[in-house]
């Protein structure tokens, strides 16, 4: 392998790099990790790889003198830490020489085509359970007692149901509608259970909607020197927080109209 790598193998490396980057960006990995993974895959194959990743797409250039350059646009982004961890492990074992480029490519194809965490009945049931548990746990955190536990469980189920319905809308609108529905339903619960603290329910209900991933990624990207991605993610988290605040504001003022 001391000759120049031929075009076909460069194209193979470029495809694997691009697939890895697509999975990572679509699952919510930070940009610095995307570029590092791509460089690692290239290093494992013995070719130089340069890449520019943003939160919305990636350009990969493989090979030194006459590079193969490809780009991909990522339009749909979800949060799926399992896939991030899987690609991370894949690039590690590729670097250690435990698997071949072909195996890695097949595995990445499978990851690209596998549905998100919200599909499939079993994982769907798990998501419902998780959101209701999260809401009741945070209800305890913000000062709720045993009285708020059951309403918080139900509120979590409802928030998850709405989350599924609005998933195809633009993210800003989805968060707004979800926050609006949570605050409206928490307000309505006062008519059924007069002694429940509505404020605690609302706060606990919207904590799972907070832009924690965007904020963490913004911090990590800025510290890694990824200025564009860091600022973009910071703007994303501010926008999401504003949508959340708007939804809760509207919901609370609607409930105030109808005491």
């Amino acid at each position: 392998m001391d000759t120049l790598p031929d075009r076909a193998s460069l194209r193979d490396v470029a495809r694997v790099c691009l697939d890895a980057a697509k999975v990572l960006i679509a699952s919510g990995a930070e940009t610095a990790r995307v570029e590092e993974t791509v460089t690692r895959i290239g290093a494992a194959c013995g070719v130089e790889v340069e890449s520019i990743a943003t939160p919305t797409g990636i350009t990969v250039s493989v090979g030194g003198n006459r590079p193969v350059t490809r780009l991909a646009r990522v339009r749909v982004r979800t949060i799926d830490m399992s896939k991030v961890a899987a690609v991370n492990g894949l690039s590690r074992s590729l670097e250690a020489g435990e698997i071949s480029l072909r195996t890695a490519g097949n595995e990445l194809c499978r990851l690209l085509q596998s549905p998100g965490p919200n599909l499939g009945t079993r994982s769907r049931r798990r998501m419902f359970l998780a959101q209701s548990l999260a809401t009741s746990g945070f209800a305890l955190l913000v000062g709720g007692g045993p009285r708020e536990l059951v309403p918080a469980l139900l509120l979590g189920l409802l928030a998850r149901l709405i989350d599924e319905r609005v998933a195809s809308l633009p993210p800003f609108l989805a968060v707004f509608l979800n926050a609006l529905a949570v605050s409206l339903c928490a307000g309505l619960s006062r008519h059924v259970l007069p002694e429940v603290n509505v404020d605690i329910l609302i706060v606990a209900g919207v904590i799972p909607l907070l832009p924690g991933l965007a904020l963490t990624n913004a911090a990590r990207d800025l510290m890694a020197g990824e200025l564009i991605a860091g600022v973009a993610r910071g703007a994303d988290s501010i926008l999401t927080a504003a949508a959340l605040a708007g939804g809760v504001c509207l919901g609370v003022s609607l409930m105030a109209l109808h005491p």
Binding site: D2, L4, P5, G28, A29, E30, R33, E36, T39, R40, A43, G46, V47, E48, V49, G64, I79, M81, S82, K83, V84, A85, N88, G89, E95, R126, M127, L129, A130, Q131, L133, A134, T135, G137, F138, A139, L140, L141, V142, D199, I202, V203, V206, I207, P208, L210, G212, L213, L215, T216, N217, A218, A219, R220, M223, A245, V248, C249, V252, S253
Partner: protein
Amino acid sequence: MSLLLKALGVLVGTAASAVLFNVPRSALLWAALAGLMGWAVQVRVGLNGVPPAAGALLGALTVSLTGEALARARRMPALVFVVPGILPLVPGTRAFQAMLALLRQDHGLAALEATQALVAAGGIAVGLLMGTALTRAWGRPTAQVLPLSSPPPELPRKARHRAVILPLWKDRNDLSD
């Protein structure tokens, strides 16, 4: 007693949000632990009279450092532990009180609460920044690129010496001495 109840809430809430983010099953408990540690630090320094924003900063710093340590120990991205872990630190109640005050047109109280919430949120961001900055250099093996492509061919010396301005009228092919 109420603190114990809250700690239980933090554990359950963080682990359940980790499931929502589809964190791998083997990391769920560790993510909840990172969240619990960050929250415990925030509460502990709050008892000593440290202002809430600084508490949020120290809590986020704890979560970030714990996440990075876990990432190296368990060979997983640090995000897996940090993203669920910072949720208990968020000043949700303050932000909500600010909103309520705003709706009641009590702008003084709204400004007070909103400022405190914003500063605490900024504290979380700065804590994360500090944690990442402190650990970026640690034990992270850098990718070794071993280029197989041959280096660019060296120009022959003669040709380099030839780089003189040629008279325009001279035939350019006539370079050989």
